[in-house]
Symmetry: C2
Subunit: 279 residues, 2 copies
């Protein structure tokens, strides 16, 4: 009998978990097809699973095909003020699953834009979260990354970051802004989820005989988790799902305790399947 | 024959000129002894000149010796909220000649302190201006310079600078703050007069064989000018007035060109005397 411990923080971040849970709960409640504005998360297995449960992604230009009272979920990335207003004017049942951390950025951006600040977003201009944030300051934001040339912005800038931005990029861009802007309001809105997940895996890997790290094999955040665990626990394996766990790993009688962690795109049910198989 | 060039911007800044003009005007108006809370500016020659005009510096613990309706001038550096309130309770004729730029810092600091921000002042903790600013947040400010170890300050910091701080120091200190504080409001309150004076001294010091920096020996902004010039021009001297210029400096035949600059508390007449002596 092995003791199996799941890391305190593993798998989906708070915002993604909340959006997926909301979709599943809505499906159960309405017992009807429901829709998400764009794929709910960037994970094909999860999107397929949701489709199997009659939860379909649709694009903005397709919503006129929906019927009155159909349920449409806004995903965790959030949307612009304009789209939110447009959706609220329809007869659809709009469920806003915008991550509260992202919603907080929308609020700060709108408030400071209305006070006359020039908005700067540190992040990727093509990411839906950034596009959404920019929609709370009339799409006027300057969007910067490490390699973007910083051109002088006059007084009163308000700077926010994409929630998944790297801390080093935040410091790099803000380091340029402080040289030229006289009045700066800066909110470091990078979400601590990734860091917390890594710390929690690191701690667990020090206490167990073996570790199972679950995630897509091309997932960079899962690879990082694997590397961290491997330092403390030689017997660490990296698997996509329960079927990838070798029999000899399960049957190894020297392994009395196993720790489990998972990357940001791994849903709970895959984690549960792994734990069940190990037990 | 040496070529002598005065920096484009040198000498009294707006705030100091305003305080000196106010003192002289009050003296003319009341035709009586008047008092300044501390030496009006950091320049012994000017303070002597003012004394000759019956304008005397006194310390806070001496004001009980003044008579009702005596005029007391608050100098351009400003004072704490507590001292201002105390003075306003007396029967003295209080004239507040606090530089409006410094008054603006007091306002921002008080406002943000009341909103729960931790106040950080980039400047010299012993400078009267910084002591005054700190008195608008219940003396709770963390006062930082380049070499001060920066210890983590929790969320919500409001950062201001001494008006005469160096831009490089501002960037250096703020560069540390952005690494740790999640919410930052930063007002670069370095007075543009200081910056313009420093840039103009810097440029001039690159082009000449020697530099003369004029100012009170306890004037922090003059010390900074001296440091900046010394980087580009090894033969830089720091003098209070014309009598302090060494003969060998004037007689040095290797020096064909001399640049002249002066701190914010150096009056025009002292600059003119120096130039005349050098010529």
């Amino acid at each position: 009998m092995k003791i199996i411990t799941l890391a305190d923080s593993a798998g989906f971040c708070f915002g993604v978990k909340r959006a997926v849970d909301t979709a599943l709960k809505m499906k159960q409640e309405y017992n009807n097809e429901i829709y998400t504005l764009g794929p709910l998360i960037h994970n094909n297995d999860v999107v397929s699973f949701l489709k199997d449960n009659l939860i379909y992604p649709i694009e903005l230009n397709e919503i006129s095909n929906l019927k009155d009272n159909d349920t449409l979920i806004i995903r965790s990335h959030g949307v612009s003020e304009e789209i939110l207003n447009e959706l609220n004017k329809t007869n659809l049942n709009i469920i806003d699953a915008t991550c509260p951390h992202v919603g907080n950025i929308h609020k700060k951006v709108k408030e400071h834009y209305d006070l006359g600040y020039n908005i700067i977003i540190v992040g990727d201009k093509n990411h839906p979260e950034v596009i959404g944030i920019n929609g709370w300051c009339n799409n006027s934001a300057v969007i910067l990354k490490d390699d973007t040339e910083y051109h002088l912005i006059p007084n009163k800038v308000c700077v926010v970051s994409q929630t998944t931005e790297r801390q080093a990029t935040w410091e790099n861009v803000l380091g340029k802004i402080i040289k030229t802007s006289k009045e700066i309001v800066a909110f470091n809105t990078i979400c601590s989820a990734t860091e917390v997940r890594q710390k929690s895996a690191e701690e667990l890997s020090k206490k167990v005989d073996a570790m199972v790290v679950i995630g897509g094999l091309n997932s960079s955040n899962t690879t990082k988790l694997y590397e961290i665990c491997k330092i403390n626990c030689e017997n660490t394996i990296y698997v996509e799902n329960m079927s990838a766990i070798p029999d000899e790993f399960i049957k190894n009688e020297n392994v009395k305790s196993v720790g489990v962690t998972a990357g940001a795109s791994t849903p709970d049910w895959i984690i549960k399947e792994v734990i069940t198989k190990m037990s």
